[in-house]
Symmetry: C2
Subunit: 411 residues, 2 copies
């Protein structure tokens, strides 16, 4: 039943990616507060040392470490107490040999001193004399000037998706606005004479638009902006006009629906009309998602998506997400887990020659993760609502056995 | 060095959670387009069947299944061809025994028929006669009325964080706006005479505010709104005023900094002044994060956070996140992986009696995940920038050996 000439998803994706023009996405400058999960477009080199001075990491006394060598509870060292470091101020004194200065956590290490001894390891003897109960080495309890970030050091590299701590690091070196890649704009065209908006009354034979809502959420979660172009009738001129407009005002065009054979061919013909190379594949060896169309026109990816909700989500993961990541300039990511090993709880069959994507729910039982297939046709949105992720049966396999270990790609 | 009387993080958290008043968060009604990752406040019961009629899942012919029984390529069945189902329209005819009607994918099954036979398994003989090459059973290639969602069925339950497909399901049953819990508002008070805003020039002894930026990102990612109350001098009256105001206009109060012993005591005293029960713990058996203060005043959680960036992130994960999840009404979550098994690449030591949170970077090498400790004091923001997650050394252990299997909690 599966056409042997259909490509596997990864090979089909490569056709699109290879046909896209090079170059990097446009950029915009944002306050760092608004750049969470945005992708930075430049390497950030620090113009200052962080911290800009050596600081104490504890409440205690700044000392010459050498003055404490050999000190212990049974034979303490004695140091004169003179001066106190105040928070946020540069000390205007020097610590002489044989002396200590009081210092709070975060205080600036006074000249002369090279270590801090913790409050707990010191016994006050008089107002100007303290007993040192433990030795410290030079540098103990001190963050050195530039120990966190050195002036001239590259703190973040272009292509990184900014996490909370990355924004904190930018604040720490005084960078308050940052150049990030603009979010790619994705046009979504819903086609189908049976599709109506969720707020319209339903007549027999009609169904509500599900996919534009699902895809808008997925696109938003992947750093892009979706423009809904509305629900277009199954009509060559109207669909052509919608695709033409979308190629003008967006970076990627998605056409959903067109589930009937004639409409699929029409969509493919329109993509071909839009310019070279046009349609790159029509159909993939994938379930759900077989009727997928992929092409590039005017340097922009144009995808014809199957109308079934489950197929839409699978195609998002396999095609749209990797293309979006390229359009938004995403480089190396921090290690993010998106899959988990689990044991199949039930047998499930598959046809050879195609990649089968099975929706599963995951449950923990006696410390073991079990994957339960969520049965139901790919046209059912509830199969996705009940599922936690997807198990892939590769083209070479005829199914999965209960007890078999599988990898679940989590939503 | 660690006070035996200090609680472990989980026990300290329980003190706060148990002191919070019951009741559910306030709610607001939002268009479903704006409810992505929001938490629904009500069970959603469908008022209609989805689909509202039995539909074909393929392009083909609607038939009486019985009329095809026994049909195969070598002995086809013959059916009269009459009528065609149009997309989005209710058929105004009935399929009589011995007849078939053309139907597109998604088309409404006409009265009389109970299955659809795929185009590929049919051979047209003449304009009004087709040859059936394969038998179908009743229900084949049909999504039944209500098969996705039944009228009266509970589609989503209160407390669920809405994913893209959940919003799609709401659209599918005609729900265009939904009651969700309001985002909790978190006030953040930065204290410390050494702290200056990132856009201010630095004088010796001063450092820029990192934590309010890091925490704002973390809070946003966990469905809440952070109000920065600014950087307050180390002064009883000013800090008290800021906490008092914050208790008025927010659901949770965070005070960061106060790293010096005197200021920590001052913060604790102010929390106690705000009402019962006040401070519930002061110090936890945790590194980094030992100086943490936890309390409840006027029914709201008030936390004093250590000033070190790494401690801030660890305390967010252990204390702020679970409290926020409660304040925002989060119930059972879909299976989300937040940790991964890896092998320690290096030895790392720890002190007994405390929970040690080690920052690690994760690398894949020959199909194996390795966790490398990111060394550096907890005051260094770059340790967090370089890290992918955290490995916990429990209080009972004295460290981890290279080669040992560990669980990495990913950021």
């Amino acid at each position: 039943m599966f056409d042997k000439n259909y490509l596997l998803p990864a090979d089909a994706l490569a056709l699109i990616v290879n046909a896209l023009p090079g170059g990097r996405p446009k950029t915009e400058k944002l306050p760092i507060e608004e750049s969470y999960r945005r992708i930075i477009a430049v390497d950030v080199v620090s113009l200052e040392d962080l911290p800009g001075f050596s600081r104490s990491t504890v409440d205690g006394y700044a000392v010459h470490a050498e003055d404490t060598f050999g000190a212990k509870e049974t034979s303490p060292a004695y140091l004169g107490l003179k001066y106190e470091v105040l928070m946020g101020q540069a000390p205007d004194f020097e610590v002489a040999r044989g002396f200590a200065a009081k210092i709070p956590t975060g205080g600036m290490l006074p000249p002369g001193s090279d270590a801090v001894i913790m409050l707990e390891h010191v016994q006050p003897v008089s107002e100007d004399l303290i007993e040192i109960l433990r030795a410290v080495a030079p540098g103990d309890n001190v963050i050195q000037l530039g120990e966190d970030i050195r002036k001239g050091e590259t703190v973040l590299t272009a292509g990184k998706s900014l996490r909370a701590q990355d924004i904190g690091a930018l604040a720490g070196i005084g960078v308050t606005s940052i150049e990030v890649f603009k979010k790619p704009v994705v046009s979504f065209i819903s086609t189908g004479d049976e599709i109506v908006s969720p707020d319209s009354p339903l007549r027999p034979g009609q169904v509500r638009d599900i996919n534009s809502f699902t895809l808008a959420g997925l696109a938003m979660n992947h750093g892009s902006i979706m423009i809904k172009k509305g629900i277009i009738r199954d009509n060559y001129e109207e669909i052509r006009k919608a695709i033409e407009e979308s190629l003008q005002d967006s970076d990627m065009v998605l056409i959903s629906g067109g589930t009937s054979a004639g409409l699929k061919d029409m969509t493919a013909a329109i993509i071909n009309d839009m310019g070279m190379p046009g349609v790159l594949f029509h159909g993939v060896s994938l379930k759900p998602g077989k009727p997928m169309i992929g092409g590039v026109a005017q340097g922009k990816p144009v995808l014809g998506l199957p109308g079934h909700p489950a197929a839409t989500v699978v195609c998002f993961d396999l095609f749209i997400k990797p293309i979006l990541n390229r359009l938004r300039g995403l480089g190396r990511q921090p290690y993010i887990i998106r899959s988990v090993k689990a044991t199949m709880a039930k047998n499930i069959a598959s046809a050879a020659g195609r990649e089968d994507h099975i929706r599963v729910s995951v449950e923990e039982k006696e410390g073991k993760l079990l994957a339960f297939p969520v049965l139901g046709k790919s046209g059912l949105i509830t199969t996705l609502v009940k599922a936690d992720g997807i198990v892939i049966i590769p083209q070479s396999k005829l199914g999965l056995d209960a007890g078999e270990e599988v990898t679940v790609r989590l939503f």
